[in-house]
Amino acid sequence: MADTKTSETAPKKGKWTRRAFIGAGVVAGGALVIGVAVRPDNPVERLSPMVAKGKGEQLINAWVKVDADNIVSAIIPHVEMGQGIFTSLAQMLADELDADWSKVRILEAPADAKYVSHDIGREFLAPNLEVPAILEPTVGGTFLQLATAMNLQITGGSFSVRGTGQRAMRVAGAAAKEMLIAAAAEEWNVPAGELRAENSMILHDKSSKSAPFADFAAAAAEQGLPNKPKLKSPKDYKLMGKAMARHDIPDKSNGTALFGIDADLPGMKYAAVKAAPVVGATVESMNVDSAKAMPGVLQILNMGDFIAVVADGYWQAQQALGTIDAKYSKTEGDTLNQDALFARYASVLDEAGDEGGDVETEQGDVTEAFANAATKVEAEYKVPFLAHATMEPMNCTAWVRDGKCDVWSGHQAPLMARKAAADTLGIDTDDVTYHNAYLGGGFGRRSENDAIIMATRIAKAVSYPVKMIWSREEDTMQDHYRPSATSRFQAGLDKNGKAVSWSNIHTHLFDPQEAPTVPYYNIANHKIRKIDVPTHLRFGPWRSVDHSQHGYFIESFVDELAHAAGKDGYAYRRELLAGSKRHLAVLDKAAEMAGWDKPLPEGHGRGIAFVPSFGTIVAEVAEVDMTGAKPKVKKIYVAADPGFAVNPDGFAAQMESSIAYGLTATLYGEISVKDGAVQQSNFHDYPILRINEMPEVEVGIINGDHKRLGGAGEPGLPPLAPAVTNAIFAATGKRVRELPLSKVDFA
């Protein structure tokens, strides 16, 4: 069977199914009908009032603006939450445009349906679709309709560079260049073929004539939009592939960068909130006697599912809220406790037996292969709920007046935030203006609309602008959590130790669909099943989503197979990846960087893990010191192939970041439920990795396929936990089958 395997990293079906998109009710596959003739025309006239209002500013197409001083603005339809996307996308656009990087500015696209990109829709819905140039306008129009219907202006899924960057920003830059050249050719009366662009200038080498882009911007906007402008090949890249400094860092180093929480309006008041501790419960009664007498307090609101105190200052609001004694309704969720939940997972999995649950993928006959296997390996793994704990607590400012509403926040999907506010008020989306700011951490948390809806409801109840800020306690206890989960495996090995069957059943499947699957490993027979075990707790995408748990489950179990086969984890994975050149190159690079065969001091261990996700192949080697009372992670070596790293330093920063985020979860991350409520509340009982615990990180990048890019924000995370726990096994012989490590007794 091994001979039929390819190096595909993921199955093609169901690539993108985040709830938001399913929820929009658009059937993507069925709607992609060639022949719906909607040509994406040049929307410059419609867009200018929003983004090119200034004197001398000229839009060339939707994403490129040139002003009289020859400053080029790249208009970016994604939000900046630390991933450096403004800079990376501007690099892609400016490179194709041959713009002078020192004169490139960045403008976040407004939260308006006109700034939905058909390319976003296309990347989400049909990432591998290629069509002849003549059909591009038709297909583009179809996707534009779909994207608009779905409010597709979202940042997530490690998708921005590989989707918007490749399909929209580069194309927009290249198209603008062709339009500028066409305009210059008319003006100078020379063939367009004799002109070229360089550093935001149009040059005619024959006559030594040159002039800035600005001179032709207005005429360029009148040119027809090229269907398929010519994109550069990698040898001609000037900005892509270079570690350009990020545009947002200076403002984030002097306190001037504005986040959602920094919104400021004349006459603005402040709201502190407390939601019913058990999600689904309501406020039955509240004693506000002392609260209402406190200084600065303006309004005390029982909103049903939460209490809001509005005051002149936030601290006043918080102080007053703290004195309110409230009683909440009983709900079914009240009886839920964490141990009972894991017991419920176990019984549901027991009941499913060998045949129950929903089959996600199946190949060959696992039952027969397992029965005939020379060695049988079984294991069960568990992970807890996790909170996002963004440094900026959830917040939103809203002002409802005259049947209209303005909303200020930092959100991963501005159009969806706008719609949520409109739906809350029962008004048209056109009557809501949504203002997005920098996000003080996103990690999936800021793709939810709960804070937007709460602030809008409060604003509706008062007559002035109001800024709602969650306390850290609310932020921790009212999150949309990474679900807790249990996963069980059975594998059979032949007499040489080769895996011949792989069977897995796990609770819960959210997204991406391929997270529990291992198509890159040569295992002839496999069957993967899932069972949903719903709880009243809200769950949501958490950095790398389901890969965050399945990376740990799968790579721990592969390590157990290696041990059962009497081989080391690196050598065993090499065999499983045999024939997949790109995968092997990444695995080999990580091992080589780490000096896999070099001896380590007594009590230290080295572990390896390999997880392709979000289009990027990643292998990590962890070095862990087990000589102390608790594990000390010394160093992480990361090898990654994202196809092509547009900004290698930004990519490395995302790997470092994923390691810190993943290591927090591995060492400490645990949200637990008692009587239906989350028990943790602040950083004392939901600890975050601190600088003294941060390992050294070394990142090696392989540019394995410049045509098909992978993501950066998430793929560094899934291999981290298993690399660490595999290193612990190497050092101590103790296999960690439940996270976090703070629960494990290493004595």
Partner: protein
């Protein structure tokens, strides 16, 4: 009425003396560079200097600033906007990601270097362990502090 000395300027505010410095600076003085993170001095996002020493402004009542100089992130650069050594090192080492905690990180690092111009790795870790960064910029924070201390000068392309 309370008179405060903030970044070298006298400011008058009408607040309850128990109000934490954080909210006075952010809401009354409209200087939003100082951030709210946890409210209980566990994360360091709100770090400011009181007479040059780092304090957690979310848990320090404004009454404690009486007769003392408050320095916030807005007060580190020169008057013409030229970044302080620490701020410049933050840019050179491309530290910030989401950036929300970085005002607090820079304030802590500035206080560290004032006290100890040439800190070791262990001293950096000890001085900075009170500042949480959820984006995990710790590797670069270490480098930036060394850059600011003049130990290393590796930088990114501009």
């Amino acid at each position: 009425m309370i008179t405060l000395n903030v970044n070298g300027e006298a400011k008058e505010v009408e607040v309850d003396p128990a109000t934490p410095i954080l909210w006075v600076v952010r809401e009354n003085l409209k200087m939003t560079g100082t951030k709210f993170g946890c409210g209980v001095a566990l994360c360091g996002a709100c770090t400011v200097h009181l007479d040059g020493k780092p304090v957690r402004s979310c848990s320090t009542p404004v009454s404690e600033a009486d007769g003392k100089a408050i320095t916030t992130i807005e007060g580190l650069a020169e008057e013409d906007g030229t970044f302080s050594k620490v701020q410049q090192a933050w840019v050179d080492q491309q530290v910030a990601q989401c950036g929300y905690c970085q005002s607090g990180q820079i304030m802590s690092a500035t206080a560290l270097l004032k006290k100890n111009p040439n800190p070791t790795d262990e001293q950096i870790d000890a001085a900075m362990a009170g500042n949480i960064c959820r984006c995990g910029t710790y590797v670069r924070i270490r480098k930036a502090i060394k850059t600011a201390a003049g130990v290393s000068s590796e930088t990114q392309e501009a």
